[in-house]
Structures are given as structure tokens and as C-alpha cells.
Symmetry: C2
Subunit: 374 residues, 2 copies
């Protein structure tokens, strides 16, 4: 089962408050999906994710296809049972990784031949194969196989890839029959407005239960990302969820919501944590910085997560400096919690008709600290 309910709209912006119903539970939108690339949100257990109250998590078809392989997950009873996470899961199609991480061998309309970034072994993804794998994984939401282009790309290449993405979307749509899995279409087209609009028109014509905007947050200026989302807003059906793939930073989440986005995913909370950086209400904090060596206060005085309640900056810095896994765990927990609570704040503000105020006051405070990332 899959259903999207649009609950309310912001009177002043394109922001929306909604709800997604799946066989693994109901989640509120706008929401952020922590990324569990290889079948685990890095360093965290499902119980911790429940505690944080993540709505949907994302897992990766490209990676799970290579390791452990879709058959092993299917025999386990699907990804929910394999990783023991019993809330909604979304799998991406592998398109992004095939075109960015793997070594490409041959791209044709039929599909993509590529070699694994792990062991060089040869693999072939077609729209049908990407659906087969995602059916074996058994996520609640699955994605069409798309051709992702880097930034910058020429208009010519962007057009070829966008057109292929449309053809592949049609094949995915026709091939996918498994009930209980909602297949989302993906809009491509790079930074070219006419291509984006054509892509939206072609993909929306296929009538998917949800739509993603792909190919952003790949290095282009933020203004282009925001403009592209804004452009597409009125061209995506209002009664379907909209997912901005691979985004992002707290600012981007606010700007995306403002432009009508319902779903986001990004590796940043866990990746920053592994680099020793924490989100706080006043901006990013580089935990390893010497200034925190004797700082016995919490990571973020405004945060009520167990990490902030139980540990000091001095201890967290010690763990990070000493290369202790517990440090990565605790920062990952805090960062995912931070982003999930930000989305909660956004949803609350939408209910209270105060989204613009929330948006402004969050960013004013968030821009106080300006530490270099480590």
C-alpha cells in the first residue's frame, strides 16, 4: 500500500505538510531520510533510529547489489527483516552510483555496463534489472533507473541523458508490477530549464505515485538548485510527494521545503560525524578543535538528545582525537537527531502557520558559528 495525504499548505510559500502511508507505517512530511547505504545507517542500530524517530530511511541498490547481493536479502525476507528495521525504507535505483562511483564501461539505451568500485567485477544495470533488484530488496518506495550527469555538463549531454531517463522511466513503469512497492519517477535535465520542464512533463505523463528531482546538489551553485526546484514546483502534481534527492544541509532543507519539497535524503549527518563535525543550533562545530579540550558543556546546549545530555564536548573531542568508534557513534546519533528534529520543527511550524518565522529564526541562529570543517 502507498498513499500520500496533503494535510495543509503554507499560506505564504509553497511549503506543504503531508503524510505518507506505507505497509511499514505512516510518516509525516516534510521529512528527511537518513542514508543506510549498505543496509545500515552508519554506526547506528535500528533501535536508535526508532528512538530518534526517523520516518523513512534510504538504502542503496547499487551497494546492496554488490554486497551482499539481492538474493541474500530476498532470502532473508527482504531488507526490513535483513537489517531488522521495521519502518518504511526507500531504495534508490543505483543510477547515481553507477554514474558517479562505478567505472563505466558502456552506456546504451539498453542499460549500463559497469565495473564494481570494490573488486572491478563486471555488472549490468537496465531499468528492468534495477527494478528486479529493488523488488528483491523489498523497500516500500523504489526509484526508476535514471542517467545522472555530473556538473557541469553540456546541454547536448544533458538532453541525451534526460531523454534516456524518460525512456527508462517508461520501461520501469511498465515492468514494475509488484504490489506494495511505490515506484517514483525522477526528473533530470541538469541546470537547463527547458530540459527540466520537458523531463517533468514526460515523467509526470507516466503517472507515478511520487516524483523525485535528481541531479541536483552535485556541485552546482546553490542558487541554481533552488531555482530549479522552484521552477519545477508548479509542474509536479500537488497531490503526489516530491523528493529532492541527495539534499542536504540544514539551509537546503528549509529552502527545499519552502519550494514545495516533501522528502529529502543526504549522507551528510553521518558523514560529517565520521569527520568529527557536529550540527548545533548555532552552526557546525568541529569537535576536534583545541578550544573544546576543556569544554565540559554539551555539544549543543539546545539539544535534548542523549549524547548532549550525557557527554561533554571535552569527552567527545577525546574520543574523536583518539580514533574511538564510540565518538563516531555519538556524533552520528546527535547529527541524525539534529536533522530529524529540524524537520519536526518545520512540520510544527507548518501546522502553526509560522513556517516563515521558523525558517528565518533557525537560519539567523544557525549562521552564528562559522567553523572550518575538518
Amino acid at each position: 500500500m502507498f498513499e500520500f495525504q496533503l494535510i495543509s499548505r503554507c499560506p505564504a510559500t509553497a511549503a506543504r505538510r503531508g503524510r505518507i502511508l506505507t505497509a511499514h507505517g505512516t510518516v509525516d512530511t516534510p521529512l528527511f531520510m537518513p542514508v543506510g547505504t549498505q543496509g545500515t545507517v552508519k554506526t547506528l542500530t535500528p533501535e536508535e533510529l526508532y528512538e530518534i524517530d526517523t520516518g523513512i530511511i534510504l538504502a542503496n541498490t547499487y551497494h546492496l547489489n554488490l554486497r551482499p547481493g539481492p538474493e541474500i536479502v530476498r532470502k532473508a525476507g527482504g531488507l526490513h527483516r535483513f537489517m531488522n528495521y521495521h519502518r518504511p525504507i526507500l531504495t534508490d535505483s543505483g543510477g547515481f552510483q553507477v554514474f558517479s562511483l562505478a567505472k563505466l564501461r558502456r552506456v546504451t539505451d539498453e542499460g549500463v555496463e559497469f565495473s564494481s568500485h570494490i573488486d572491478g567485477s563486471l555488472h549490468f544495470f537496465s531499468p528492468e534489472r534495477a527494478i528486479d533488484i529493488q523488488q528483491a530488496l523489498g523497500a516500500d518506495i523504489i526509484m526508476c533507473f535514471d542517467e545522472c550527469i555530473p556538473y557541469p555538463s553540456t546541454y547536448e549531454y544533458a538532453e541525451i541523458a534526460m531523454e534516456r531517463t524518460s525512456r527508462w522511466a517508461r520501461r520501469c513503469r511498465e515492468y514494475h508490477k509488484k504490489p506494495g512497492q511505490a515506484l517514483f519517477g525522477i526528473v533530470q535535465g541538469g541546470i537547463y530549464k527547458d530540459l527540466r520542464l520537458r523531463s517533468a512533463r514526460e515523467v509526470v505523463a507516466l503517472d507515478f505515485p511520487g516524483y523525485a528531482i535528481g541531479g541536483l546538489s552535485v556541485g552546482e551553485p546553490k542558487e541554481i538548485m533552488y531555482e530549479t526546484v522552484e521552477l519545477l514546483e508548479s509542474h509536479l502534481p500537488a497531490d503526489k510527494p516530491r523528493y529532492l534527492m541527495g539534499v542536504g544541509e540544514p539551509e537546503d532543507l528549509l529552502e527545499g521545503v519552502k519550494r514545495g519539497i516533501d522528502m529529502f535524503d543526504c549522507v551528510l549527518p553521518t558523514r560529517l560525524a565520521r569527520h568529527g563535525t557536529a550540527y548545533t543550533a548555532t552552526g557546525k562545530l568541529v569537535v576536534r578543535n583545541a578550544r573544546y579540550a576543556e569544554d565540559y558543556g554539551p555539544l549543543d546546549p539546545e539539544c535534548d538528545c542523549p549524547v548532549c545530555r550525557r557527554y561533554s564536548r571535552a569527552y567527545l573531542r577525546h574520543l574523536i582525537k583518539s580514533g574511538e568508534i564510540l565518538g563516531l557513534r555519538l556524533l552520528s546519533y546527535h547529527n541524525v537527531h539534529f536533522i530529524v528534529k529540524l524537520m519536526e520543527g518545520i512540520r510544527d511550524s507548518l501546522e502553526n502557520k509560522s513556517f516563515q518565522l521558523f525558517h528565518q529564526s533557525f537560519l539567523n541562529k544557525y549562521r552564528i558559528k562559522r567553523e572550518d570543517d575538518s
Copy 2:
């Protein structure tokens, strides 16, 4: 405060059932102390240790002196507050690491000059300095600074080191006045029986609240370790706890208890976990082995820990093979749980006067599986 209560003795062996009372709580012996070298039992939180019900954990003076430094821990209010672990903690004196991990510069009766294994910086440990640092750390049980020799060592060197250990024990005893911290003496002497007996006599004469046997499990044959413990049993006061340092494997714990040992510590449960190996009732299991790729059963069918209740061997193998931190966490949890439950089983058997039966049946089963360590 510190008190040792001898509750009962095994009628057939030297095994004892006891209890240690500290300001941070009462723990039952025989017990195993998981090692938190740098102020964290690797990969685990204090809450998980409470859940596993570890009695005492061990932290390391050598490492904490280098990082974050004793002053930072002291200003945090001591190690319990720094790491947020509010049960008993024991710190070793750093002797073992100074003589095995650091680069020695100069060893005299005054103390040891060494350079850090981390950054080469120069440090000096004397008996008094080791006590100062341990007082700053604030553990419930602290250890005398000793000279640890490798295996093999000549009789001459073993004698010199043993005599110095005795002189240093006296200095530690005289220097340590802080109430609330119990200072244990350490018996050295290598594999030489007369040196071991002399060491025991000299250290016991100083009247410590507890005694450790150091310098074993450093590469000597297991029979020598067992014989040395057996030799010392009647030479250590029955009303004081006895701690066999750096031991060990499940077999060694049983053999040590049988010979009158009350306390053990070892990095093995967490180290094996990080190498992808799990303890099970039928022996060690190398999780990454291909035979577990499609094994959807629990790590150890006889274990009731959350890892065994929630995850399959196939999933754990996937995590380990993929280098995921969650795999190291889950195996660490299971392994520490396994050893702590083994000690619980030993204590129960002592209460039921069935220690010998427990000893035999545990080992019979534990020796079934013979997998190569990864």
C-alpha cells in the same frame, strides 16, 4: 571505601565466590573487567555496559595520560564523570604499556623515561607519578607501578625487574594516601618460581587491599601460566581479592577461577570483535567466513543477548565484510556479553557447589568448533 567479602569456597578446587564493595557499587566475584583503554570500552556506551551488567571496567593510565591527559579528566570530576560510567572502575598503572608499547629511553630505580607511541613526546613515569595520575583519574581501584618483562626473559633480568617492582610497590604504598581508592600490589617474577614466591612475600608484606599477578599471558605456554597461578594461590592472603592481569580466553578464566583468581581483564572480547570473530557456546566463530553468507540463524543459538535475538549471521557477515561500524559494535556487544555471562555462570556454579561440573561441561562444548581466527 573498599571491602572484599569472601562468601564461599569451592569444596574441590581453590575457586572462591566473593564480593567487592566500592563507592561506585558492589560487584560479585569472580568477575571479568572489560577493557576501556582510552576511557571507552571500544564501540560500546556505558548504557550498553549497564545492560550487559559488567561489574568493573578497566581503563588505562598510560593511554589516558597521553590523551586527553590527567588534568582534563580531573577537571571533569574524574573518569566516572568524564566517560559517564558510574560503576566501579579500575585503572592499571601504565607499567605494562610503558614496557611494551612505548619506546623506552631510560629505566632507573627512580622511574622510566619513555617516548609516546603516538607522537614520540618524552614522558617520565615513577611510582609516585603513576599514583598521581591515577588519583587524578579517580578510579575505585588503582595499581602499583611495576616493571613488566617480556617472555622469554633471563633469570637475571626477571630478578632485577622483580626486585624493582617490590621497591616501587613500597613507594606506591607510602605515597598513596587518597581515601576511596584501593591500591593493589602486583606480583612479578616471570616464569621463575622462586622469584614469584619472593615477589609475593615482599608485596604481601606491604599489606595491600588486593593483589594482582602480572607478567603472565605474555606469550608463555599456558601450562606455565596455570602453574604460576597455582603456585601463588596459597601465598596470597585468602581474605583479599586476587587479580590475574591481562587474562583472557574463556578457558583461561575457568582455569584461573579454579586456581583461586577473583578478577580478570582482557582486551580479547572487543579486539576479536573488531577482527570479525565472535564467541559462541561451541567455540569461536569467524563471522566473515563464506559459510555464513546465507545463514539466517543467530550468532550463538544459546545466547539471549539483543544481537543474537535481532540479527542473523548473514547480516552480521555482510556488515563485517562491508567494513560497517555497526558490525564491530554488535560483535563487541555480543562478545563482552558472552564473557560476562560466562562469569555469571561460574558464580552461579560456585553457589550451587557445581563449579567442577560447569567447568567441564562448558569446555566440552566450547571445544566443538575449531575455526581459524581471521
